[in-house]
């Protein structure tokens, strides 16, 4: 493993410290709970929006704390939900009279931790609710499992609820919007390589020089199916077809199209995927209203990408358009 790290156990704290040093006017780092929050938070006049998840998905979510987006992000260690304590204390710190919304990607561990923290915080009189995001079409949603996972599509839920909260919506309204965006968001991912967690020091799985993994999540775990390497256009087909047929998206739909890099893939390649996806959608009568190309929700250094579609309506599009000021600015 070759990485810019000092000590695998300090990977997350050192990253968060660097993030706070780079954004001294806007962010505060609370080391006791791995917490990144707005320097001036919580805003007593709005619902606090908090995202919790494992680390290793940067810029998600610690780097999108800021005006118009998250009030705080509470990450665990790499690919591990934060300890219950961290979430509980984060909720207390972010408590606002208008309430707290915890956004969580739907995974076993995360669900358990956040359910426990919500119970405990509610018991102390904090108005807190939890919204689980589950946009991944590669996982079958059956009563036997915990259901679909949340992956890169969570960005759209976050952006929309954050904009609504910023506009003054109450907790019920914010949740209505979050559930609505989640319900029209679909994602599927592919890995070209495995990723290497710092604490493990070696790739999570082995992929041959001509193999790819279809239907991967964002935790470096293997996907649904291994396939032979194919062209960019063929990969777009593999990802887009299950996404489109799932909602389903149909002719006349206006969508947001996100091509998300998983960490090790350069943005040049993402635009090759984007171009093909855009054209294939157009052929089906689906028009792209807003485009997102880059790294949003990654798996450390994994080479790979995911495609997300969101069916837009006036309300969602307007919320996506609202301004936001976050550390992953360019200038």
């Amino acid at each position: 493993m070759k990485k810019f790290i000092n000590n695998p156990q300090q990977f997350v704290p050192e990253m968060l410290e660097g993030l706070a040093l780079a954004n001294p006017d806007t962010l505060k780092y609370v080391p006791e709970y791995n917490l990144i929050m707005r320097a001036d938070g919580p805003d007593q006049n709005k619902v606090s929006i908090v995202q919790g998840s494992g680390s290793g998905h940067e810029p998600a979510h610690v780097m999108i704390v800021g005006k118009g987006m998250l009030d705080a992000a509470c990450p665990g260690d790499v690919f591990a939900a934060p300890p219950f304590d961290y979430v509980y204390n984060t909720t207390k710190l972010l408590a606002s009279p208008k309430g707290v919304l915890l956004l969580v990607n739907n995974y076993t561990g995360d669900k358990m931790v956040f359910d426990m923290a919500q119970e405990m915080s509610s018991a102390e009189g904090i108005d807190v609710r939890t919204l689980f995001i589950n946009d991944d079409v590669s996982v079958e949603d059956s009563t036997y499992t915990i259901g679909r996972r949340g992956v890169a599509g969570n960005f759209f839920v976050i952006k929309a609820v954050a904009a609504a909260a910023e506009r003054g919506a109450d907790l019920d309204e914010v949740i209505r919007i979050g559930e609505k965006v989640n319900s029209v968001t679909r994602t599927m991912g592919v890995a070209l390589t495995a990723c290497t967690p710092p604490a493990k020091g070696s790739p999570l799985f082995e992929l041959g020089e001509d193999e790819i993994e279809l239907g991967v999540g964002i935790h470096g775990e293997p996907g649904r199916r291994r396939a032979k390497m194919m062209t960019a256009n063929e990969i777009v087909e593999e990802l887009l077809t299950p996404i489109v047929s799932d909602l389903p998206f149909t002719a006349g739909d206006r969508v947001a199209l996100m091509v998300n890099g998983l960490g090790g893939t350069p943005i040049s390649e993402l635009y090759i995927l984007y171009g093909q996806a855009h054209k294939r959608l157009a052929e089906q009568g689906i028009s792209v209203g807003r485009s997102y190309v880059g790294e949003y929700c990654t798996s450390l250094d994994m080479a790979g990408a995911s495609i997300t579609l969101v069916r837009l309506d006036e309300e969602i599009e307007s919320l996506l358009l609202d301004p936001a000021e976050v550390p992953i600015r360019v200038f």
Partner: protein, 212 residues
């Protein structure tokens, strides 16, 4: 309850914690096969804290001691393991309160309460390929041996043997819970990481029993 009971419980927890720390890499590798490879890291970070704070835990009785361990675990361990193991210790503590002394039936009751706690928290059934598939049958086998009047040594040996056999047998199952479940039928062919971890921990506890 007697001081000997607390000493036994302390020995079990200490050995469990030490095993988790010593096996960080192995547990991680087991979880990497179809999971995300962090099981070893999560357990090691939590249980090394348990070891380093060892002397600070209140030892009024077994229940108090176990509750303190529960709190330490759930405030330190992330991922799925934090809530599951934390809940297990919490339920174990609550059940320990019902027993004046930790004899065989008490041990079975405590283990069963822990397993039920995990079940309640994680919503898993037997056969879903989780640590329950090692812990539950091993506990049942322990009870069977006790009822049959086996010696303490025989009981412990049977407990460890069953945990190992059932952990290995999870290879044939398809994961229905946890991250491994996303791999669908591809999880078949390798054992569940949590179940094997349980077996390794129990084996060590039993192997070193006589020397404590």
């Amino acid at each position: 309850m007697t001081t000997a009971d607390l000493a036994d419980v302390e020995y079990v927890v200490h050995t469990l914690a030490q095993t988790a720390v010593d096996n960080e890499k192995e547990f991680g590798d087991l979880d990497a096969v179809v999971g995300d490879g962090d099981l070893g890291y999560s357990l090691a970070r939590g249980f090394e804290k348990v070891l380093s704070d060892w002397d600070s835990y209140k030892r009024d009785d077994v229940a108090t001691f176990l509750q303190q361990i529960a709190l330490a675990i759930s405030s330190r361990i992330g991922g799925t393991s934090g809530p599951l193991w934390g809940t297990a210790f919490l339920r174990a503590s609550a059940t320990a309160k019902n027993f004046a002394m930790v004899d065989g039936p008490a041990v079975v009751a405590i283990l069963r309460a822990a397993a039920e706690g995990i079940q309640a928290r994680g919503n898993a059934s037997l056969g879903d390929k989780t640590l329950l598939d090692a812990l539950v049958p091993a506990t049942e086998e322990l009870e069977r041996q006790i009822v049959a009047g086996a010696s303490a040594d025989e009981c412990r040996a049977a407990f460890a043997r069953t945990a190992r056999a059932c952990a290995d047998a999870t290879s044939t199952l398809e994961a229905k819970r946890g991250r491994a479940s996303y791999s669908g039928t591809r999880s078949i062919g390798s054992p569940d990481a949590g179940a094997v971890a349980i077996a390794i921990i129990i084996e060590r506890i039993i192997a070193e029993w006589d020397s404590h």
